[in-house]
């Protein structure tokens, strides 16, 4: 029972990275833009956050640097695909490759730097509940922030006027344009918000999750986050659940090994990716499910006045 609670705690922690990045990409895609550059943005944000934490000792500044770095890269991508109408998929891939190389180059001098462990935050009262208390309510603030962000985003998309406009821009940019909304600027704002959240996820990895900098340390989490948005059929709550599911599978495979369950380690290592594929296949079996939620103009260029 106690080990289950601990597994749960580790799952929440591992899922937080995916949830933050997944929510960011959700905002992106709701505005009709696919950004395959998530991995690159996360890596650049990871080194930006880590370097800031090393020099200032402030986690808040580190997270801000991560968000800034992610948003900046997203802005460059946004200008390319929204104004110059370059191919979104090719530009996103280029962003990923650039981010991987650039972060490695900038990060060379930080590979020997170190950060102390980051404090966790106990919610008064709740943290003292036996068994689940310490697991659920004694975590880094970012873990709770991911949950709060999910709720806020769900409210924003479905209950606020601005959210409605954002969705309109993703569904039918021509109609939104005809109604007088600045489609390109709105899309850029969404892309930058998405990049900022991916950046926050990247900074969380290098500052809190594994407080060190290593080249390529996000290890494919950006790609899983991309799959997560489709898996969640573009709904915030499902992104969060999916993130915990993937985080859980990752932790479970180590947990099972520790318990002495005989499965080849290589098979266990591919479980999270296998789970991604299985889920994608399962939801593709019901095309209406995807079609209802998928932003109708996702990935399509928009020419105003055309």
């Amino acid at each position: 029972m106690e080990s289950l609670a601990l597994l749960l705690a580790a799952t929440l922690n591992a899922g937080t990275v995916l949830a933050l990045a997944g929510l960011g990409l959700l905002v992106n895609e709701r505005a009709g833009i696919v950004n395959l550059g998530a991995e690159g943005m996360m890596l650049v944000a990871a080194i930006a956050g880590f370097a800031t934490a090393v020099h200032t000792g402030s986690d808040v500044l580190a997270f801000a640097a991560g968000i800034g770095a992610g948003a900046l890269m997203a802005a460059a991508f946004g200008v390319l695909v929204i104004w110059l109408n370059t191919n979104q998929y090719a530009s996103g891939l280029a962003l990923s490759l650039f981010g991987a190389g650039f972060s490695a180059f900038v990060g060379i001098r930080y590979t020997q730097e170190k950060l102390g462990p980051r404090p966790s935050f106990a919610i008064p009262g709740l943290a003292d509940i036996p068994l689940v208390g310490p697991a659920l309510f004694r975590q880094h603030p970012m873990v709770y922030l991911a949950v709060a962000l999910t709720l806020a985003l769900a409210w924003f998309l479905y209950r606020s006027r601005a959210g409605l406009v954002l969705r309109a821009v993703g569904e039918s940019p021509e109609s939104a344009h005809a109604l007088g909304y600045p489609v390109r600027r709105l899309r850029l704002a969404a892309v930058m918000a998405g990049g900022g959240l991916c950046g926050l996820a990247g900074a969380y990895i290098s500052v809190v999750y594994t407080p060190l900098w290593v080249e390529g340390m996000t290890a494919g989490k950006g790609w899983i986050a991309l799959a997560l948005t489709t898996f969640a059929t573009w709904r915030p709550a499902r992104v969060l659940l999916g993130a915990y599911l993937f985080g859980g599978v990752t932790m479970l495979q180590f947990h099972l090994q520790g318990e002495g369950v005989e499965i080849p380690s290589q098979v266990l290592s591919m479980l999270p990716y296998l789970a991604t594929i299985v889920v994608l296949v399962l939801i593709s079996r019901n095309p209406t499910w995807i079609r209802i939620n998928m932003p109708a103009s996702l990935g399509k260029p928009f020419f105003p006045g055309g």
Partner: protein, 386 residues
């Protein structure tokens, strides 16, 4: 029309220029390292004996800044520079994947006139063997392998001596009697470290059991973090790893548990959790090799040095370790130095109860190369290797 530039020659031109581009790319990954020692002033310019410096090259699997495996090898290279000054010229290539790229890099280095090439990861063995047959005048050195050629030999270290000493400390510091080990790949090199760690712990505390988690990588900090966390969740309170980053140590620090540094001195990364660092000092072997190449006494052999030769050691033992345990560790270390202590000495029983080494027999190199079992006290079964 009789134009000299036909379509075919255009194709040829394109082919050659892409080849040139590829060659330039290979060159990009390489760094020329100037000798560390200052050149002696006013060397006679026309001295006939002032021969060309000996060119030596190192190939690393990780970044030199990994604070672990590649970093330790690079410290050894720097010792070579300090010792031989401008009589050697060293080159390094970092982050070479253990595949087709490795063969290209090794061949490239040989073609550039390097007289001795050190490949410092297990996966470079086959590519190096292939290139060695093409360059009979170049000496090839492979770390941790088992295949040799007339101009290729192997060198290794007895890391299991370090892990035995670490085990003695772990066994005395644990409160749960459960140790945790983050393993890279289930190969003999790693299995004997797990076994020696457990045997060392049992030497001071017979109730010890060891849990093992495999991550299928040498270097992936988030994964190492998750593996360490799951071991701690499972009750382990002293951890050791056969992976190259500081992540396991840092995870232990975060959870208020103990762990060890690996490959190099990692004491700076965790003030409370760090119990000691298992380090390798490759400099001694590298200096010996360079000297042999210069003297022309180089010959094919297999070198496995240990604590006795100063090749590896457990350093920076924490003050948190009780005095009597430190004394015991020092005693065993002294015996290792004298060559009177064997880590794998019979009876060795595996965790299914089968005897693997009879009473008073010692596990020699050949026996250690074939370890495919956990000793008694290690939990679980080894996942299918290879």
């Amino acid at each position: 029309m009789n134009h000299p530039v036909s379509k075919r020659s255009l194709f040829k031109l394109a082919g050659w220029s892409s080849l040139a581009a590829a060659a330039a790319l290979v060159g990009c990954g390489k760094k020329e390292e100037p000798p560390a020692a200052a050149p002696t002033a006013a060397a006679p310019a026309s001295a006939p004996a002032a021969a060309e410096p000996l060119k030596a090259a190192w190939i690393y699997v990780g970044p030199v800044g990994d604070a672990g495996w590649s970093y330790a090898h690079d410290l050894g290279r720097k010792e070579v520079e300090a010792e031989f000054g401008d009589k050697v010229k060293t080159t390094i290539v970092e982050k070479v994947p253990e595949g087709a790229d490795a063969e290209r890099v090794i061949r490239d280095l040989a073609a550039q006139g390097n007289k001795v090439i050190f490949a410092t990861s297990f996966g470079y063995m086959e590519p190096m063997l292939k290139v060695a047959s093409e360059f009979p005048d170049v000496k090839f050195e492979h770390a941790t392998g088992y295949k040799t050629a007339p101009n290729m030999r192997i060198y290794d270290a007895k890391f299991f001596e370090d892990t035995y000493l670490a085990g003695m400390i772990a066994g005395s510091m644990t409160k749960t009697n459960t140790l945790g080990f983050v393993g890279s790949f289930p190969i003999p090199e790693v299995l004997r470290n797990i076994n020696a760690f457990t045997l060392g712990a049992q030497a001071v505390n017979p109730k010890i059991k060891t849990k093992v988690v495999w991550v299928s990588t040498w270097f992936d900090p988030p994964k190492e973090t998750e593996a360490a966390q799951s071991l701690i969740n499972g009750g382990a309170d002293v951890l050791l790893q056969n992976t190259d980053s500081t992540a396991v140590l840092q995870t232990a620090e975060k959870n208020g548990k103990y762990a060890f540094g690996w490959d190099s001195d990692m004491s700076a990364f965790a003030t409370k959790a760090h119990l000691g660092s298992a380090v390798a000092n490759w400099g001694g072997y590298y200096k010996k090799t360079i000297k042999e190449v210069m003297d022309g006494t180089w010959k094919t052999e297999r070198t496995v040095w240990g604590v006795k030769e100063g090749q590896n050691d457990l350093i920076k033992v924490s003050d948190a370790v009780p005095e009597d345990i430190r004394k015991k560790v020092d005693e065993i270390k002294a015996q290792m130095k004298a060559g009177t202590f064997e880590v794998f000495k019979g009876p060795v029983v595996d965790n299914t109860g089968k005897e693997r080494l009879a009473k008073d027999a010692t596990g020699d190199q050949d026996w250690r190369d074939k370890i495919d079992f956990y000793v008694k006290g290690v939990e679980g079964k080894i996942p299918a290797a290879k």
